[in-house]
Each structure stands twice: as structure tokens, then as C-alpha cells.
């Protein structure tokens, strides 16, 4: 795993800070009740679950309500779903997300299958979904609402009273409980069973077109696409990400500098400059535009970006130099990525709808 001692201690310090924030009392943030078993679609590995936040049916329902609730933003105009919209596979379809503070600096990644990731955000500045959940709420560029205000607004809404009681055993609203419920809902946002999964893991040789099957071979071949060296495909499952950080050259400016330094911001390790977390490629045909800065508009543009070797810079990942793609390879790769559209799980839309 990825724990380094200082990461752990920094995380603990961050948690302590939140604890001391005043908005959290000594109430339990752990849901009561039975953990539900979340169905794992074909092609996805077993789901890691945190011991202190088991996904109970009530927690998932509460998280779902919160995910679609605009009261978590300063002027009641934005919910999580504004930027992670189920219609576009939990992205917003924008180049850069628009929050209350104007344009955010980055493209909104999908939340689907984020439950598997060892790091959250393009730069990995949060480790867990729980840790991640509170930050867009308070982020001035996004929902711009201090946690004590969010807590008050949710507590003032009578509809939540019973949900908190059922989920946590009391009607106390804390930011920790909000985080936990949001994370539990996000753990149900699993998408698999795509044409690729049926071909690769379901034994259905007809699930991919000839071009898509060739594209898969190019994707896996270290001397051609070399894509799977970062977008991992394993014998029994595929997340299409190694959960690590790589510099593809995306975002290099005229002076060979990165305006967004990416992972370096967290680690201060020089070679992490311009490195971003490998995104999943599941549902990628529906999550344009692409890359951390949303600069590439189509999958063809992404494949051509790789065909050219990305953009040179001091810290370019060596795996980028191994990519060799001819014209047919490029067409086949685009076709292959269109086979990665999976099923949407039930009960993930706005509450009250399917």
C-alpha cells in the first residue's frame, strides 16, 4: 500500500484539526446497523471497506440524499451532483468545473469506482472518500460553505432527523457523519459489466468488435500502446488505473513549466512535478473532455496525444517513450475505449428516482 509514516501523521494531524474545529462533539460518527453487501459487477475486484464506516443501508440512503442536496453550498445552488452528474457518468462534461468561486482549476473526475482508489483527487491530496467528501463543501472555489454552516443547515431540515437517527442512533448532525454517509453512498457507485468485461472476464468472444479486440491487444502490448502499464488490467478484474501518479506532459506550458504542478504539491518531490493520478478509463467514452485540465476534447485527440509521445519535459514518465502507434492502432484504440461503457447501478440518481 501507499502509507508512508509522514502521510499517516499528516492525516492524523488533519483529522485532529477537524475534531478540534468545534463543530464535532463526542457523538459517534460510525453508523449503527448491518453493513450491506454492495453487488460487485463483472470486471471489478472486491470492494475495500473501512472498518469504522461500514456501508449500512441507512447510511447509503442518507449519503444519497446529501449528494443531491444543494444546501451543502453557500447559496444553495450547488450539490455534489452539479459536478458529478449521473447523466454524464458522474462528471460534469465541462472542461473545468464551475463552482461558486468561478472556474475550478481542474476537470471533474468521475466518482464511479472511486471507492477503489488509494488516493482521491488528481494530486492525491485525500486518501479516503471520507476524507475527500468534506473538502469540496468548504472549498471556496467549489461549494464555499464552512462546515459549521453545513451542519446547521442540514440539522434545520426536519426530513433528515429520522435519517440521522436510523443511521447513527441519534439525530446529531456532525461533519463527520456527513462525510461518512457521503462516502457510503459513493461506495455504491460501481460500474462494470461493459462489453470489454463480458469479453475479457465473461468468456463472450462476440462482445467486442474486431476493431475493439485489436484495440485491446494494442492497449496491452508494451511495444505498442503500452497503455496498461499505467491503466491497469489484471487477470480477474480491471480498474484501468494503477492509482499512481505519472507525468504524461499534459499541461506543459511555453516555458516548459507546469502551471499546475500536480503531485509535487503534496510530496515536494521534484520528479512528481506535473504528475497526476492515472484516471480510470471505465465509461470514458461518456466523460469528455479529458485530462486534469480538460484540454483534450475527444478520445481521438487523447490517442493522438499518446501517439506523439505526449509533451517533453524534465519529468516525463519513461513509460511514455515506449508508445508506438500506427494509424490503424490509433483507430482501434479509440474503438476499444468505446467498449468500456459499463452498467449504471440502480438507486444512484436523485432520491425518489431510480
Amino acid at each position: 500500500m501507499f502509507f508512508r509514516p509522514w502521510v499517516v501523521s499528516m492525516t492524523m494531524a488533519a483529522v485532529l484539526l477537524i475534531v478540534c474545529d468545534g463543530c464535532r462533539s463526542h457523538v459517534q460518527d460510525k453508523p449503527i446497523g448491518q453493513s450491506v453487501s454492495i453487488p460487485i459487477p463483472l470486471g471489478l475486484p472486491p470492494l475495500p471497506l473501512p472498518r469504522d464506516n461500514p456501508p449500512t443501508a441507512d447510511a447509503v440512503a442518507l449519503g444519497r440524499a446529501l449528494f443531491y442536496d444543494k444546501h451543502l453550498s453557500q447559496d444553495d445552488s450547488l450539490s455534489c451532483s452539479s459536478c458529478h452528474n449521473p447523466q454524464t457518468y458522474f462528471t460534469d462534461g465541462q472542461r473545468l468545473s464551475k463552482g461558486l468561486g468561478g472556474l475550478s482549476l481542474r476537470n471533474a473526475p468521475t466518482v464511479m469506482n472511486a471507492a477503489y482508489l488509494p488516493f482521491q483527487f488528481w494530486d492525491g491530496r485525500a486518501l479516503t472518500l471520507e476524507e475527500q467528501a468534506a473538502s469540496p463543501i468548504a472549498d471556496p472555489l467549489e461549494m464555499n460553505q464552512p462546515h459549521n454552516v453545513s451542519v446547521k443547515k442540514i440539522a434545520a431540515n426536519g426530513e433528515y432527523k429520522a435519517m440521522f437517527v436510523e443511521t447513527f442512533g441519534s439525530d446529531d448532525v456532525t461533519i463527520g457523519r456527513i462525510e461518512n454517509a457521503l462516502a457510503s453512498f459513493e461506495r455504491t457507485l460501481l460500474s462494470g459489466n461493459s462489453a470489454f468485461d463480458r469479453y475479457q472476464y465473461g468468456g463472450d468472444q462476440t462482445a467486442l468488435t474486431i476493431s475493439q479486440a485489436r484495440g485491446l491487444a494494442v492497449f496491452l502490448d508494451p511495444n505498442k500502446g503500452n497503455c496498461a502499464s499505467c491503466h491497469t488490467v489484471r487477470p480477474h478484474d480491471a480498474l484501468f488505473t494503477d492509482g499512481k501518479f505519472h507525468n504524461t506532459g499534459e499541461g506543459v506550458g511555453d516555458l516548459d513549466q507546469f502551471s499546475d504542478i500536480g503531485r509535487y504539491h503534496e510530496t515536494k518531490v521534484k520528479t512528481d512535478t506535473g504528475a497526476f493520478k492515472t484516471p480510470t478509463l471505465r465509461n470514458v467514452a461518456h466523460t469528455a473532455p479529458y485530462m486534469h485540465d480538460g484540454r483534450l476534447k475527444t478520445l481521438k485527440e487523447v490517442v493522438d496525444f499518446y501517439a506523439g509521445g505526449g509533451n517533453s519535459n524534465l519529468y516525463l514518465d519513461p513509460e511514455m517513450k515506449k508508445i508506438h502507434l500506427n494509424g490503424t492502432d490509433r483507430e482501434d484504440l479509440v474503438a476499444f475505449m468505446q467498449s468500456l461503457t459499463g452498467e449504471m447501478p440502480p438507486n444512484v440518481g436523485p432520491p425518489g428516482k431510480k
Binding site: 493522438d304 501517439a307 506523439g308
Partner: protein
Amino acid sequence: MKMKICLLLVVLSAGCSKKSNTVPVAVLDAPAYFKVDAASAGSISGKVKFAGPRPRPQLINMEEDPACVMAHAGKAYDESLVVDAHGALGNAFVYISRGLEGKNFETPTTPVVIDQRGCWFRPRLLGLQTGQTFKIVNSDPVTHNIHPMAMVNREWNHSQGPGDDPMTRRFIKPEIMIPVKCNIHSWMHAYIGVLDHPYFAVTKDDGSFEIKNLPAGTYTISIWQEKLGTQEQQITVAAQTNATANFTYKGKS
């Protein structure tokens, strides 16, 4: 353009004393640029010929990227050796290679543009002064990845998608010539000559070139062609006159 240069003078006190070093900061004017006096300047012109058989036009196959076939209106022919019916050689790079040492020429503020259009570099051959802005445009509906394979300057490559803004780069050191390719389209080639003075030219289709406003003096003038290599000759330029420098490349024997 007047540049201020901050000069840090680190004054080390003698005798290795442990006292803190004083660091006075002096602001000096940049060294003066060489100004050409028009009254004492002359020019060089000439024609370049290729004595061998006129090469047959070679068709370029762009089928690897169907969007390129569409984008390149009409057929694309190889331009590595362009000779007209009279043996005139276009697309050769002519430049002063010796005789300007010690003179410091101002960098032009106008950028030199290369356009990726019809899956082709336009122009194929261009000259730049050191530090001059090199502006890269993509007019195509496809992604290109321009890759100047510099040896003296830093080598780099950069992707540019359809509709992307132009980008700008600079070459810091003189270098004859930098081959440029597109990492995506193997048939795309260009060449860049970088010099620390403004005395260079690319021959036109009729093989002619002209280098103007050159201080009177004796120089080595050189020519480079991507298939035929380099040649040079001595030339003396007198004030207010034009000196002639013709070149002929023999055909392959």
C-alpha cells in the same frame, strides 16, 4: 529595446574573515547592440543550381491518417529536393558562417511562424535568430506533435490539438540545422537554422536569394540543402555594392 541587467557582485573579503559578505547590486545597461551603418553596408545575392537530373515528383502517402488526406487539398509531393525546369534549386538555406564574430545583433521582436497545415509543415525551411520567438500554429483538424531534434539546443516535442492556441518557443544557441518532424505523421519534415545574426536567407523556387544590409567586409558564405549537404565560399562585400555568390550542386554521380 533597452534591457537592464542586474549584476551581482559578490565581494569576498580578503583573508577569509568570517564577516558576512557584502553583496552590492549594480544595475548596468545591457551591452550595446551592433548598429549597421547603411552607408557602409552592402549586399550579397546569387542563384543556386542543381546540375543533376531534375528529380521526379514523389507522391506522399497520407493514408495512415485519413483526416490528413482530407486536410491536404490535392496531392502532396515530396519537397526534399525542389528543382525547377532550368535547374534552379529552391529551399536551400544560405547564411554567413564566418566574418561576423564579436558583433552582437539585436533579437528581432517579430516571431517566425511555422504552420501545420494539410498535415504539412509550412514553410519547410526557416531561419531564426537566437532568442527570437518561434511561433507554432496548428491549422489542421488533427493533432500534431512537433519535434525539433536539436543537438546543440534542447530537444523537445509538443502536442497540439485541433483548435489549440499557437505556442511559442525559443532557441538559445546557433545551430545549423535542426531537423523537425511530427511524431504522429512520419512524412512531415521541416528544418530550422538558428543564427546569432540576421544574415541568412532561404532560396526561392527560382534558386535566388538575397542577403541585405551587411557591413562591408570579408565573409564566408555557406549553403545547406537537406539532400545535398553544405558548400561554402569566401566573399568580400564593399559598401553600397552588391556582391554575387552563385552555388552549383553536382548531381549524384
